[in-house]
Every structure is written in structure tokens, then in C-alpha cells.
């Protein structure tokens, strides 16, 4: 979409000493009632989650960075900071190009609306023109292979259908820096195959790809570099085989140590 040419090896994203904290309440929902009740007691109602802690990372054009880590490691959070959705709590993120501002997970924000309406609204919210979406829509719908279901409310979608649509949106809109967050891992075998092909096709010298995935085989296969996050910290980054091996053996150990794992 963008025709500013980026040379391979040129820096695309630079993440420097990045920290991010979420503030959540202990109860599920912060309410005035709860606040008034606890006011006299002076107990703190908020819980602070350090989702990212001093993360250093850069991504070059022409490369594919894989991001692995257990659930809750902070992968999605990192993607949100890079796309400008979450302002960092500490540190700095520099982005040298047009980054996808619509993360796939934003699709389906309104479950009562159809898949079509969700794609449109998500795109418009991300700043695309309706013409642009119109141009891409056919491709998105075709790739997702949802058939008539595209006009059914998204609450009737199975998680696989949901992921298909999310993935199609993420890969059809072609920014300089493309982020695909976990949209690969769900879906049936055939769709997985197809999405893998698509990702390979999207690898280009003028683009940087960031791929969050639990499918370690895929990561090993198509990434030039892999970063492993754990509890908000960057544990290791480097060659795919090394990092994936280290992560896989960590998962094996983790099983006995009852660490949240998911492959």
C-alpha cells in the first residue's frame, strides 16, 4: 500500500527499555459502590500488572521476527505498544514506517454485528478509507472462505471461523510493518497450510513482519529471528533454532513446574 521503499536491513522498529504496566482492580469490575465501601478502610483496590519489563528489541526491513512465550508473557501487549495502541509506561519505541494499526484481534469487536460490518468498522476505525476497505473486502472474504457466514452475526462464529476472518484481515491490509498476533494457530489443518503459504508470500524485502505464534514449527520455518518473552522480560533472542529449542526445552521443564503452557 505504501510505496515508500525500504531497503532490506534498514531498521523498521526499535524498542528501547520498554516497560508497560496495566492497572486493574481486584474485583472484576471497578465500581463506585466498591470504592465507597472500602474508602474508610484505605485498602488499595488496584492491582498493578507489569506486562513488559525493560524489553530491548529491533526489527529490520526484509526480516521476519517470531515472538514466542507462554500465555500472559506480554506478547500481545508488546504488539499493542508497537502499533501505538498502548502508550509505553517506560522506555521508547521508534517506528520507521506504516505499521498495521488494526490488530487482527480487533476484528469482531461487536459480536452482534456481522463479520462484514465488523471488518468495515474495524478498518474505518484504523483509519482506512471506505474505498480502501471496499477494494480489499473481496480478497478478505475470499481468503477467509466463510461463504454466507460473512453476513451472520459474529457471535455465531466458531473460534476457527473467527480466527480465519482475523487472519484474513491482518494479511490483506498490507502495511510496511505487519503484525500477526496468534491468528495463525487456530483453524483447521488446511487453513493453517494456506495461511502459512500466505505468510511466506508476504515476506518481502520492503516489509517487516512480526509473527506471534505458538506453532513452533512454523516459527522455526519462516522466521529469521525469534524473541522469547517470559513474564514481561525478554529472555532470549537470536537464531530461530536456538531460541525455539531453548523455549521448547523450557516448556518441557515447565510442565513439571506447572507453568502455564500451550502449544
Amino acid at each position: 500500500m505504501s510505496n515508500s521503499l525500504h531497503k532490506p536491513g534498514e531498521i523498521a522498529v526499535s524498542v528501547q527499555h520498554l516497560g508497560l504496566t496495566y492497572t486493574t482492580t481486584i474485583d472484576k469490575r471497578p465500581t463506585l459502590k466498591a470504592r465507597l465501601k472500602t474508602m474508610g478502610r484505605g485498602t488499595k483496590q488496584t492491582r498493578v500488572v507489569r506486562a513488559l519489563d525493560d524489553v530491548m528489541l529491533d526489527v529490520a526491513y526484509g526480516s521476519v521476527l517470531g515472538v514466542v512465550g507462554a500465555n500472559g508473557a506480554g506478547k500481545s501487549t508488546l504488539m499493542r505498544v508497537i502499533s501505538g495502541i498502548l502508550p509505553p509506561s517506560q522506555g521508547r519505541v521508534e517506528v520507521y514506517g506504516k505499521v498495521s494499526t488494526l490488530l487482527a484481534l480487533g476484528v469482531g469487536f461487536s459480536p452482534s454485528l456481522s463479520g462484514r460490518a465488523n471488518v468495515y468498522l474495524g478498518g474505518l476505525a484504523a483509519g482506512m478509507s471506505s474505498q480502501e476497505i471496499e477494494n480489499h473486502f473481496e480478497e478478505i472474504a475470499d481468503f477467509a472462505e466463510l461463504g454466507d457466514a460473512i453476513d451472520a452475526p459474529m457471535r455465531t462464529y466458531s473460534s476457527g471461523m473467527y480466527a480465519r476472518l482475523a487472519f484474513s484481515v491482518a494479511v490483506t491490509v498490507r502495511p510496511d510493518i505487519l503484525i500477526v498476533d496468534e491468528a495463525l494457530s487456530t483453524g483447521d489443518a488446511r487453513f493453517k497450510e494456506k495461511s502459512l503459504e500466505k505468510i511466506k508470500e508476504l515476506r518481502s524485502d520492503a516489509r517487516a513482519l512480526i509473527l506471534v505464534s505458538h506453532a513452533l514449527g512454523t516459527v522455526r520455518d519462516i522466521c529469521n529471528e525469534v524473541a522469547w518473552l517470559h513474564k514481561g522480560k525478554l529472555i532470549q533472542r537470536g537464531k530461530p533454532d536456538e531460541v525455539v529449542d531453548a523455549y521448547a526445552s523450557f516448556l518441557q521443564v515447565g510442565k513439571s513446574a506447572a507453568i502455564n503452557e500451550d502449544v
Binding site: E10, R29, L32, Y96, T101, G106, F109, L113, A126
Partner: protein
């Protein structure tokens, strides 16, 4: 590597307002989202079907009928002016109440979008205001028919209704923006809202006319921003008289004040929404 300049730099934000000019231009670029989002919401509420429209009109119309009967039973004097006043004011009141009820959850229910897309969050409560305005439109036609049947006076002064509606929209959007933001921090604000609007309904010159108020109770006028607004509205659309200039100015001042404060409050906090929703 060092020569390239970043297109975008994200650093911890400073307290206070975001750069307003940039904010405004991104908001303006997203106007088609606001239009499309409002349209789909209206579609969901069956606004584009005949029965949906009838329902929209029937609700305030029935309400005004009930209140009218109530007034007759209580023994107040009732005439066609009174009925016109009641209906017109309920319609305008519903415009504002719908803006608030649609707006209050606009941010919290957009959670998924907020977490995954970068956009000016102000779009969400603004869309709610647009929806409420479109739901208000058919009631204008009903009122025009009603006032013809009732034989209410007609005149150019009725055109005052246009700035009055604009002021009403500005005011209620301001409140909607404010409470949509507060609802992020206290999710039960949405539950309190119906009580609040009900109270406002009784404390406003809707079920009673300004002229009927006891002098001791006149103070209500000073604290209820809807007072001068509804008074002007009733004068213009029911009596076809020019509203008092002071009433108009006071309502405008309230609206500007509330809108500015609400927007400021929202803008200062919106960058935090994604880590809070």
C-alpha cells in the same frame, strides 16, 4: 541506520492534553467511522424498519399521554397547550436522555476495539450522540402533526427551535463524553444513570410549566441547566414565541461549559483507557 528518522515515536505520555491539532485531524479523518458505526447501530435498533420507527415514536407519545392523564387526575388544569408542552418537552428530553444512555457505555463496550486499534477514543461517545439525534428526527414530524391537530399557534419564532436543538446536542454530548469516561473507572455509573435522568425529568419544566412554579422553588432554575433550555424550547415550538435571550444565553453557556469540561476530562484520560478497560 542512523540517518532514517522515525515515522512515529511512542514514549510515556505527559499528563495533560494530547496535541490537539493532531488529535482533531485524526478524528476528522475517522468521520466515516462515526457515520458507519452510527448507521449500523441504528440498523440494529431497527431504525430503518417501519415498526422500529413506530416504536421510537410510540414510546414518548404514550409517556406524554400517561403524564397528561395523570395531571388531569391530580387536578391540575389541562388544555391543549399543556399537552403540546408536555409532548414537545418530552421529545427534546428524550434526545438528551438517549444521548446519555447510549453514550455511557460507549467506551467500555468498545473494549475490544480499544485494545486492538489505535484511534481517537472520542469517536465512540460521539457516535452515540449521532445515534440519539437520528432517533430524535422522526419525533419532530410527529410533533408537527400533533401541533397541527391541536391547533397550536404558528410563526417564524418557531425557528428558534434549531439553535435550541443544537444547544441540547452540545450539552448532552458533553455529558455523554464525561460519563463515558467516568464509566471506565466506575462501571456502575451506567446503573445509576436511569435514576439520574428520572430525577432530572421531574426537576425540569416538562410535567409542569415554568409559569406554574412557586417563587420559593425558583432556585431550581439556577442549578438545573435544562431549565432555561426547555423553557425556551416550549416557548418556541408550542407557543411560537421568541424565547428570552437570557435563557438562551444561559443554556448556551452551560452547554459550552459542560462540553469543554467533558472533552477535557476525556482527552486527558483517554490514553489510559487501553490499560484500564
Amino acid at each position: 541506520m542512523g540517518t532514517a528518522t522515525p515515522v512515529e515515536v511512542f514514549v510515556p505520555f505527559r499528563k495533560g492534553l494530547p496535541p490537539l491539532r493532531k488529535y482533531w485531524s485524526t478524528l476528522w479523518k475517522r468521520r466515516s467511522f462515526i457515520a458507519e458505526y452510527s448507521r449500523t447501530q441504528l440498523h440494529e435498533q431497527h431504525f430503518d424498519s417501519v415498526f422500529g420507527q413506530i416504536w421510537l415514536i410510540l414510546n414518548p407519545l404514550l409517556l406524554s399521554g400517561v403524564y397528561f392523564v395523570l395531571i388531569v387526575i391530580i387536578g391540575g388544569h389541562s388544555d391543549k397547550m399543556r399537552y403540546g408542552h408536555l409532548t414537545a418537552c418530552l421529545f427534546l428530553f428524550y434526545l438528551m436522555a438517549n444521548t446519555l444512555s447510549g453514550g455511557v457505555k460507549s467506551v467500555t463496550s468498545g473494549q475490544r476495539l480499544i485494545l486492538n486499534t489505535a484511534f481517537p477514543r472520542l469517536m465512540l461517545p460521539i457516535s452515540a450522540s449521532v445515534v440519539a439525534f437520528f432517533r430524535f428526527l422522526p419525533t419532530i414530524f410527529i410533533f408537527l402533526i400533533l401541533r397541527t391537530i391541536l391547533g397550536l399557534p404558528i410563526g417564524w419564532n418557531m425557528l428558534w427551535s434549531i439553535p435550541i436543538v443544537l444547544i441540547a446536542i452540545l450539552f448532552s454530548s458533553g455529558v455523554a463524553i464525561l460519563i463515558s469516561c467516568i464509566n471506565v473507572y466506575f462501571r456502575d455509573i451506567a446503573n445509576f444513570l436511569p435514576y439520574f435522568t428520572r430525577m432530572l425529568l421531574y426537576l425540569s419544566p416538562i410535567l409542569w410549566e415554568t409559569s406554574a412554579i412557586k417563587p420559593q422553588l425558583r432556585k431550581v432554575e439556577l442549578v438545573n441547566p435544562l431549565f432555561p433550555l426547555l423553557d425556551s424550547w416550549s416557548r418556541a415550538v408550542v407557543h411560537a414565541q421568541a424565547p428570552h435571550l437570557t435563557s438562551m444565553l444561559i443554556s448556551l453557556a452551560w452547554a459550552v461549559l459542560v462540553f469543554t469540561f467533558g472533552t477535557y476530562f476525556f482527552l486527558v484520560r483517554e490514553r489510559e483507557f487501553a490499560v484500564r478497560v
